[in-house]
Symmetry: C2
Subunit: 383 residues, 2 copies
Amino acid sequence: MRRVFVVGVGMTRVGRRFDKGLGELAAEAIFRAIDDARGARPEALVVGNMMASSLFNQDNLGALVADYAGLRGVAAYHVEAACGSGGHAVVAGYSLVASGLYDVVLVVGVEKMCDYPTSVVTAALAQAADAEHELVYGISFPSLNALVMRLYMKTFGASREALAQWPVRMHEYGSRNPYAQLRFRISVDDVVRSPVIADPIRLLDSSPIGDGAAALVLASEDVARKLSDTPVEVAGVGMATDSVDLSSRMDLLDAPSVRLAAEKAYRMARVSPRDIDVAEVHDAFTVTGLLCLEALGFVERGKAWKEFADGRFGPGDKPSVNLSGGLKARGHPVGATGVYQVAEIAMQLRGDFPGVKAGSPSIGLAANFGGVATQTSVVVLRR
Amino acid sequence: MRRVFVVGVGMTRVGRRFDKGLGELAAEAIFRAIDDARGARPEALVVGNMMASSLFNQDNLGALVADYAGLRGVAAYHVEAACGSGGHAVVAGYSLVASGLYDVVLVVGVEKMCDYPTSVVTAALAQAADAEHELVYGISFPSLNALVMRLYMKTFGASREALAQWPVRMHEYGSRNPYAQLRFRISVDDVVRSPVIADPIRLLDSSPIGDGAAALVLASEDVARKLSDTPVEVAGVGMATDSVDLSSRMDLLDAPSVRLAAEKAYRMARVSPRDIDVAEVHDAFTVTGLLCLEALGFVERGKAWKEFADGRFGPGDKPSVNLSGGLKARGHPVGATGVYQVAEIAMQLRGDFPGVKAGSPSIGLAANFGGVATQTSVVVLRR
């Protein structure tokens, strides 16, 4: 297997970007990533995106983004895995380099969500659920996660106030990340008094709606040395699936797709959860962040809420978690999120992440999923 | 680069499949492909599909199909490249094996188009065009291709009757393919008197709307020998892009994405166009089939219509073209088409294609694109 390296990263600040269309926004991140990789010339492009079809009537997204980025002609395709599209696009891009097909591959995640009213976006997001067995009953994505959160609280005895520590800490980190959408601090009181979205999920348990794009330049080993002084190796990748509809799962507090994807990535990178210094996990809602920590093997089942509330997983801890602010505060432009995570971890390992730093991490991890841990990708990076 | 082989193929007959949903239809093809590969156990799944989001509100398609096929847990993602989704999914699946990530990978293309009125499907298909620069003017996909067909006829002096030879021959082949949607013969007279869809395109120049799924089992070299007595090697793959909107192209009668994708695939397989014995090309409309033959290097620019009308490209010719009946008569369940093509070529090389046979071909090619040659994949197979 050929070794693959991240040699360039680029991100836009997550937020309302009424000034640019999908192609232009993706190109903004791409240009930054190419600049960061000393003007690398990508031979192929993988685009992670969830909602271009449902919100913008736009398919052929690979070709569209290639053209906006001045790359007309390159190989391209679009990867969809709902909110996990970005992470899966990273794995797809990895395989294009590792296979020997291409030496330099660009991966971009892009999403525009702010052009429409929240009701329209919520309906588009609900396409991550099972259309035949869940959507027809009027379910939304927050309502599905609310079932999981209630069960988590009841089963493990987690209090509302303890869970609120998650968004509080994410906003603290986000306030110091120049790319974050929500750059203000909040208190436990703010969280528990914020409006109910789908009980027990409140507004401040939920990741915001935002536009954003993030890009990576991936390169084979020999090329990587020319394009970067600080290449970061993609040491392991894993993907796994679960049922789309929650009703056919045996245990809603397990997240087997996260566990299986992580096992594959750990095995490939020859590391264990204890070796991970810094991680970005998928906290679309407070409870999904906690489930990630448990399924990734960072903490025992049912204990993430307590250990997090007690202060673990901060900067310098093993691992430091979501120093970007996570989906909660950096933002969650759904199909782009997985690429943001990998870009952030790569920057932590290089030492140039512009927000809260993890110290001097050697090994990092990004975990991104579509649906309620319906399909997960895990990427392990090494300095 | 690890060698990759097709060790199993499975197809459903293209047609109206009101009896099954997307997941069930995909599973039907998957079960056949797995049976054909001696009960192979895939570790990963790539799903090619265009319209699950726009017609069925369904994302997370990789996980959904995995679950319906009894493969819950496997790695999975969904590839979109409009009508070229299937072929790009094949290349993505190829890279997952060639990279060493997995030894056995399933690729399935699936599309359901018949559940909705034609007007709804036509609108969904138009997502292959540029939403901001073409769709807003009310353009449809047939109308874009009509511009190209008129220009082709005018520039190269092709007569309406000569062009009609394409669909006539496709229906002849289709009538003998048990998987084809349109299994009846037509005459030149039928074509030129069929209703106008978008002048000069008539009904019988157009591929039909249909439901269908096709699947491949891909395997690494050592595993392939165990799963098949007649493994077919994926000897070369290529992908390339052009602009989405036609107005920004220099020459509407060129198809550079087809040319570039083919060059890459030929180079990788160490073959030239003259070596290809059997091919499936993307005749969504009569004119796109002709442009493919020219851009693939089988015939000079502007001459495909004449040589085809004179009888070239039949069984035993080099290459034999679209013996399945092509998109025109086998049918064009858009996101599945590219996988049908590769399955058909693999069967031609194995000698067990159940329709018109190419003789004893050694090298075959499948060319599939999204949009009007907006993003193309080319796959070269070798016995």
